[in-house]
Amino acid sequence: MMTSRHWLARPFSERSTLTFLAVLCGAMALVVLANLLPADHPLHVSTYTVTLLGKYLCYALLAVAVDLVWGYLGILSLGHGAFFALGGYAMGMYLMRQIGDRGVYGDPLLPDFMVFLDWDSLPWYWLGFDMPGVAFAMVLLAPGLLALVFGFLAFRSRVTGVYLSIITQALTFALMLAFFRNEMGFGGNNGLTDFKELLGFDLSADSTRLGLFIASGVALALGFLLCRAIVVSKLGRVCVAVRDAESRTRFLGYRVERYQLFVFVVSAMLAGVAGALYVPQVGIINPSEFSPLFSIEIVVWVALGGRATLYGAVIGALAVNYAKSVFTGIMPEAWLFALGALFVLVTVLLPQGIAGLLSRRRQHDDAPNNMAVKQEATP
């Protein structure tokens, strides 16, 4: 048992976590080195690929966040895209303010979309986003607060199972509609785009892209460690207890709603960080990230990778997105067939996902895997 150390240090005594970190760091180092090779070298990895991988890493962090609430707490959130997008918008607003007077209208204060829609001043909620400190805090706070309020209401009233899933979906759907509205002042359907620089670094420079890739990797590693630390603590075991027998846990004297709220908020903030790192790499944030289908897709990554393992979520996110990138290029008309079939086959044939396939034998304290216990979703 490794519960003697500081709670944040506990994951370091787990072999699987260390292996994961080593693999992640190793692969990233390889990519970075390969990118630094001269462009005509056969092993050169183009910046395009690096950015693409950076995007995958953001998705992987997002998947880890979803796995934390779904795999360990049993809350199937169909609205995690909302937290991801809120983090992304916070970052996008900062990047927008950084454009300054380099927009097409040259307005030093207002973003272009506000100029041509005749806004005469910056809405109050845009204030402060020119300061990186404020903006980065909002990356955590915006999704965190939303999760806090929403979770407080939902968990207090013991909304569970399918009901919770559906109202998380309603949440992200409502936000999507709201952000589509141009009156909201977030650029409507077009969202925020045409970013120039981040913390003074030119976003189109190769070195910045490499930096963002590394930052995404580091964020993934840290996020993974934080989740791991939570999962292996007694709190993590309470979560599993809540997942498998919620009312039993309550009768043991745990205030289940607080545990749910805590983990939900942490997960939302991680998703926000993922969104914030995602935006400068893809160059746009718009309301389609709030789309319920995107949130479902995230859940599918986790299911495909294997729930309640955390690293399974990472594998799932990387695998699906890589497949998507490849298929949309080589079989543009038919890739949805492949993707759809993949989801069906994995769910039916691989209930434990890829991770389950990789290691059939698992120590129970490493990853509680008995998911079929809780039947609460069949009311």
């Binding site: 939902a154 399918v162 109202i167 039916v348 998911m371």
Partner: protein
């Protein structure tokens, strides 16, 4: 000015000829008997048509009047073809033809003078006789003037109403004459109103008396215009009449909003009720539900392709066909996917999400990524007119009725049949039901088929309201889930009440908040409502529900 004067005379001539020829001169009913006396010389007809074809838009009105005034029995046919944009001139010969079908490269035509089929002509050889809205309006009132003299009072009424707001000085006198001789009181009233509008326009404040209390849009428009008049007497009289009308309009508008709400609600109920069965009864979260709806809609399209020219029959046949197609696909989904996921309800969500992607792309690949045209049959087009201010759109009225029927049928199935009993038994306690000899697997298949089939029915109905395309299902899946959850999972009544009330709430909010905000507010309302009642409007009761 010159042309206006000319038009004036032509119109006068037309009216004189109408009066002279008596009530049936140009009326289509009796036209054939009179053909010897009313058919022009070949050349004259040709000239009239060519004048029409070669005139520019401003000159065409005169050409129309000339044709109408010619007294030729074919005039109405020509003008109607013209109104439909089917009149064309062959480039080389200058012949005027009627286009019979205008798809593809070669178009079949008929000679406009003889109405004999004249074979196919390349579309490159044809110059269409162009028409625009102004001409169409002019044609309408010209034809309406003709129609005022037919025998059928219903047709006369339509014609009289069409004249509201379209009366001008040239015709007013003869109209007054017609109104006095009119035997049907409704037609007479409509004519009086039409004339009163004209009088009001001329500044006659006494005309207001003839218009007071009418809910007709044209009347109101005329009054509003008059209320802005510089003549204080006219303005005051019109304003007073308007205030009265506004009062009764309010009531009508409230009724209209309620109808809109119920109609939207019925769509939601239809879309959700199948889900209420598969999701509520079986606990399967079927993300492909939307695609089953889509299949129902495509079935309607396919039926209409199979039975060209009979959209109504095709639609009726599509009801069983849509049910079957969706039910069969549903069975395939149940056997192929869902049966392996017993006891893992949340995972059915993932697998069926995959299924929905496949079905969507299948339709895109096999049929087309483009929307398909589903024709609304004649008997479903237009409105049921309650009064001048309140009319219920027929297609939505049918859908509303259909939703009620489907719901009633489902309740019957669940309450009165063996299947319903077994379904309820399996829902309550699977193991117990099985031990009592109920074949749970069979019940599962039948339940899923039933739920899917109902989704197909929803698709048939939706094909009359919205796009039939690969994205059809996606637009309804989230709403459907909201309705089911709001109503309370596993409760069909809940779904009905939830769907209708969400529809009404949405429509009441919409004029006030706008479409987007209304939708957002409804979603927020659902989220908050679920906090208050975590198991929906009508929660399942008892120990079984506690889980």
């Amino acid at each position: 000015m010159n042309t206006t004067a000319w038009r004036y005379w032509l119109k006068a001539l037309l009216l004189v000829s109408l009066v002279a020829l008596g009530p049936c001169a140009l009326g289509q009913d009796n036209a054939a008997e009179q053909d010897t006396s009313a058919t022009l010389e070949e050349d004259a007809g040709r000239e009239l048509l060519q004048a029409l074809a070669e005139a520019n838009f401003r000159e065409k009105e005169a050409a129309i009047d000339a044709i109408a005034a010619s007294g030729d029995t074919r005039a109405r046919g020509w003008l109607e073809s013209f109104a439909e944009g089917k009149l064309a001139q062959v480039k080389d010969s200058g012949d005027i033809v009627v286009i019979l079908a205008n798809r593809g490269r070669q178009w079949p035509v008929a000679d406009a003078l003889t109405m004999e089929e004249a074979g196919e002509v390349s579309r490159r050889e044809l110059d269409r006789v162009a028409i625009n809205n102004r001409l169409r309006g002019h044609l309408d009132s010209t034809l309406a003037l003709l129609d005022l003299r037919v025998d059928d009072p219903a047709q006369r009424l339509i014609a009289a109403k069409a004249l509201l707001g379209d009366v001008d000085t040239e015709v007013v006198e003869s109209l007054s004459e017609l109104a006095q001789n009119e035997s049907d009181p409704e037609v007479a009233a409509a004519l009086t109103q039409a004339i009163a509008i004209h009088r009001l326009e001329q500044g006659d404040s006494a005309a207001v008396a003839d218009l007071a209390g009418s809910l007709n849009g044209q009347v109101r428009a005329a009054l509003m215009q008059a209320s802005r008049s510089e003549d204080a007497m006219v303005a005051d009289a019109a304003s007073a009449a308007l205030a009265d009308i506004e009062q009764s309009l309010k009531l009508n508008r409230a009724a209209e909003t309620l109808y809109f709400g119920l109609s939207l609600g019925s769509v939601l109920v239809l879309a959700a009720i199948g889900l209420a069965i598969t999701f509520g009864v079986m606990g399967v979260i079927n993300m492909a539900h939307g695609e089953l709806i889509m299949l129902g809609a495509y079935t309607t399209w396919a039926m209409q392709q199979l039975l060209p020219g009979q959209p109504g029959l095709a639609l009726l046949l599509a009801i069983p066909a849509g049910f079957l197609v969706a039910a069969l696909v549903g069975v395939a989904i149940e056997r192929g996917v869902i049966q392996f996921l017993k006891g893992r309800p949340l995972e059915t969500l993932l697998a069926t999400f995959g299924v929905s992607l496949i079905l969507q792309q299948l339709v895109r690949t096999l049929i087309s990524p483009l929307n398909r045209t589903v024709v609304t049959p004649e008997w479903m087009s237009g409105s049921l007119i309650i009064n001048d201010a309140l009319s219920l759109t027929l297609n939505r009225l049918y859908v509303l009725g259909f939703a009620v029927l489907v719901f009633a049928a489902l309740m019957l199935v669940m309450r009165r049949t063996r299947l319903g009993l077994e379904v309820r038994a399996v829902t309550q306690n699977r193991a117990m039901a099985r031990s009592m000899g109920i074949r749970a697997t069979r019940v599962d298949i039948l339940t899923f088929a039933l739920g899917s089939g109902v989704a197909g029915l929803a698709g048939v109905a939706l094909s009359q309201l919205t796009n039939v395309g690969p994205n059809l299902g996606q637009n309804y899946i989230i709403d459907s889930f909201m309705v089911v959850v709001f109503g309370g999972v596993g409760n069909l009544w809940g779904t009905l009440v939830a769907g209708l009330s969400l529809g009404v709430i949405n429509q009441v909010l919409e004029p006030w908040a706008g479409a987007v905000l209304a939708k957002i507010l409804v979603l927020v309302f659902i989220i908050l409502f679920i906090q208050k009642r975590p198991r929906g409007l009508f929660p399942q009761k008892g120990r079984a529900a506690e889980g």
